[in-house]
């Protein structure tokens, strides 16, 4: 009985395999259609960015996708403008340091909150979480006043200090450390490692996917940060890329073609960061799936 069933199934499979295509299926069609639309929506801004960066100023407000006379003058201009390098380097330094600090401090605090029992643990956790509910706009003024008092205006430290640790990152890491079995930590404790060694050699390697996700979030967030760097910086050399790019043009006119050119160039590091870290994320998802 079961054997005949199997034979019929496999002959069905053979029949199907011989057909060139599966019959059109309405549900499938709809799915692909929606995905396609979503893809278009996502890709359009990027296409426009590149298209605009290839236009002359007078064409910018003409929404044609293909410029009449595409050219690379904008790129030459931006890359020959010394300020662009300053901003680029500023942004790189700030984004890298902030990312590193977040990866280390968020996971240290997340680990502590997750794996240690101490009085007030819950209150500390809630306090950290509650800061998520305060919008950045409300914090900008106190940050500014503080920076002014401490003399941090127009410095790297001034740009970076609000983001060196984030409540979100701490929360994320705490949740991921929950997946590290307590046995792993206790076994290491018995084997004679101190708490910092356990965190670094046992817990951290096991949450690599989360670290990669955090690194991408933080890097992108800082790379594109605009309001706070704009407020805290005064001199052109201290600008970050987004702030610097927005200053292209003069009071009368915004030089969109230059801004888009700078923006196009500045997407390169984000692409690199993503390409480096996405492997970990994908592998993490695959591994989590296999474990079950």
């Amino acid at each position: 009985m079961a054997a005949t069933e199997e034979i019929r199934l496999s002959s069905d499979a053979l029949l199907k395999a011989n057909k060139p295509k599966r019959p059109a299926n309405m549900g499938q069609f709809l799915r692909w259609g929606l995905l396609f639309l979503g893809g278009i929506v996502m890709i359009m801004p990027i296409v426009y960015m590149i298209s605009t960066s290839l236009k002359w100023p007078h064409e910018v407000y003409n929404l044609k996708l293909i410029p009449d006379e595409p050219h690379l003058e904008n790129y030459t201009f931006v890359l020959e403008d010394g300020r662009f390098y300053w901003w680029f380097v500023n942004s790189i330094i700030i984004a890298l340091i902030t990312t590193l600090c977040n990866v280390i401090f968020d996971s240290l605090v997340g680990y502590t909150l997750c794996k240690f029992r101490f009085p007030g643990r819950y209150i500390v956790f809630i306090a950290i979480l509650s800061t998520l509910m305060i919008p950045t706009e409300m914090l900008v003024i106190p940050w500014y006043l503080m920076s002014q008092q401490f003399g941090w205006l127009d410095t790297y430290w001034g740009i970076m200090f609000p983001g060196l640790m984030t409540a979100f990152g701490t929360f994320l890491m705490k949740q991921f450390f929950e997946t590290v079995p307590d046995d792993f930590i206790e076994a290491a404790r018995i084997d004679g490692l101190n708490e910092l060694q356990i965190w670094w050699t046992v817990a951290m390697p096991l949450v690599k996917p989360a670290l990669a996700a955090l690194a991408i979030f933080v890097f992108l967030g800082n790379w594109t940060a605009f309001i706070w760097p704009l407020i805290v910086t005064n001199s052109v050399e201290m600008y970050t890329l987004p702030v610097g790019l927005s200053s292209f043009g003069d009071e009368a006119d915004v030089a969109w073609e230059l801004i888009m050119t700078g923006a196009a160039i500045s997407t390169i590091p984000t692409l690199i960061v993503f390409l480096i870290f996405q492997r970990f994320i994908i592998r993490g998802v695959v591994m989590a799936g296999l474990k079950g």
Binding site: D183, E186, A187, I190, D191, G192
Partner: protein, 352 residues
């Protein structure tokens, strides 16, 4: 290697006392198994010995030295956890060598030690693998290797076999026992499985609700259980129990109506519980004290277990492997006097 002593050990979690004064002496090189139902405090006791939890009161002594306030790493113990706790991101060699990380021995010496342990466990050709390329039994062996590599005074095992399938469990049981014979270290082994306890232990510690019920060799706890709990926990199927009362002439009047003439250390009028193991209860007897009809037969090959319905409940008895009584047949059951266990009906304690 060292002996271990536990004195009046009490542990409270958030004001709830889970261990109520445990006392135990373990000799150097002894294989002691803690057994008891889930939640009785076995793991807690083990974790207190390991130093993973703080003692509320009482003393723990390893090798003649009180270790209450020592960090786990200074207690000279190693522990094997239920789900192995081997690190998925490290090779077998790294995992086994992990226990040597904090030692200051030269690398060559450590490597030699790892090779030696791997050889002992028959894992030499697996050293470069990652845990996800190993079977359950092999992972368990890595965990044991990691514990062995430091040559600790006391090994602690917390239900290390419960994640393995039945066949592998039997095999690992034997391997751990052989390992103990070869290495000769003191071992404290926790399990909820009485078969594991019986087959592996030099001495068994039976626990319930944070109290030790009995400590003894497998034969002692089997043949002379200290109370009804131990009597029913050790041995499968569990010991049959029946209520009764001691009469003026010293014989026992059972609630089923049957009578046993016995020479008892009990006062007339005392209410007792009579225990008799299924393998001791048989129709092949000259002095039956139970009568009932066979409800179910369970052939085991060399013998058949029969479930007999009596007016005092169901009893399990042993019958012949080839010619067991038919289902529905009436049987009269009895046992040799030396196989009867008499307990106080109120306290559950054995009367001897």
């Amino acid at each position: 290697m060292a002996n271990l002593a536990i004195r009046d050990l009490v542990k409270t979690y958030d004001k709830v006392e889970v261990l109520h004064g445990i006392n135990l002496e373990v000799q150097d090189g002894e294989f002691v198994v803690f057994v008891g139902p889930s939640g009785c405090g076995k793991s807690t006791t083990l974790r207190l010995i390991a130093g993973l939890e703080e003692v509320t009161s009482g003393d723990i002594e390893i090798g003649g030295r009180v270790v209450n306030n020592l960090e786990p790493k200074h207690r000279n113990i190693a522990m094997v956890f239920q789900n192995y706790a081997i690190y998925p991101h490290m090779t077998v060699r790294k995992n086994i060598g992990f226990g040597l990380r904090s030692s200051s021995a030269p690398k060559a010496e450590k490597d030699a030690r790892i090779d030696q342990v791997a050889d002992l466990l028959g894992m030499t050709d697996l050293l470069s693998r990652k845990p996800d390329q190993l079977s359950g039994g092999q992972r368990q062996r890595v965990a044991i290797g990691r514990a062995m590599v430091r040559d600790p005074a006391v090994f602690l095992f917390d239900e290390p076999l419960s994640n393995l399938d039945a066949q592998l469990r039997t095999q690992m049981r034997l391997e751990i026992k052989k390992l103990h014979q070869r290495v000769g270290s003191t071992i404290i082994f926790v399990t909820h499985d009485q078969v594991e306890a019986m087959t592996m232990a030099d001495r068994i510690v039976i626990m319930k609700d944070g109290y030790i019920q009995q400590v003894g060799t497998p034969a002692e706890v089997y043949h002379n259980p200290a109370n009804t709990f131990v009597a029913q926990f050790i041995g499968a199927p569990a010991m049959n129990m029946i209520e009764g009362e001691v009469k003026e002439n010293g014989s026992i009047q059972l609630s089923s109506g049957g009578q046993i003439d016995a020479d008892l250390p009990a006062k007339p009028g005392q209410r007792i519980t009579l225990g008799v193991r299924p393998e001791d209860l048989t129709a092949d007897t000259s002095a039956p004290f139970l009568e009932g009809s066979v409800a179910v037969r369970e052939p085991l090959g060399h013998e058949t277990l029969i479930y007999v319905k009596t007016n005092a409940g169901e009893f399990i008895a042993k019958a012949d492997g080839r010619h067991p009584p038919d289902v529905g047949a009436t049987v009269r059951l009895g046992a040799l006097q030396e196989n009867l266990h008499i307990f106080d009906a109120e306290t559950g304690g054995a009367l001897v």
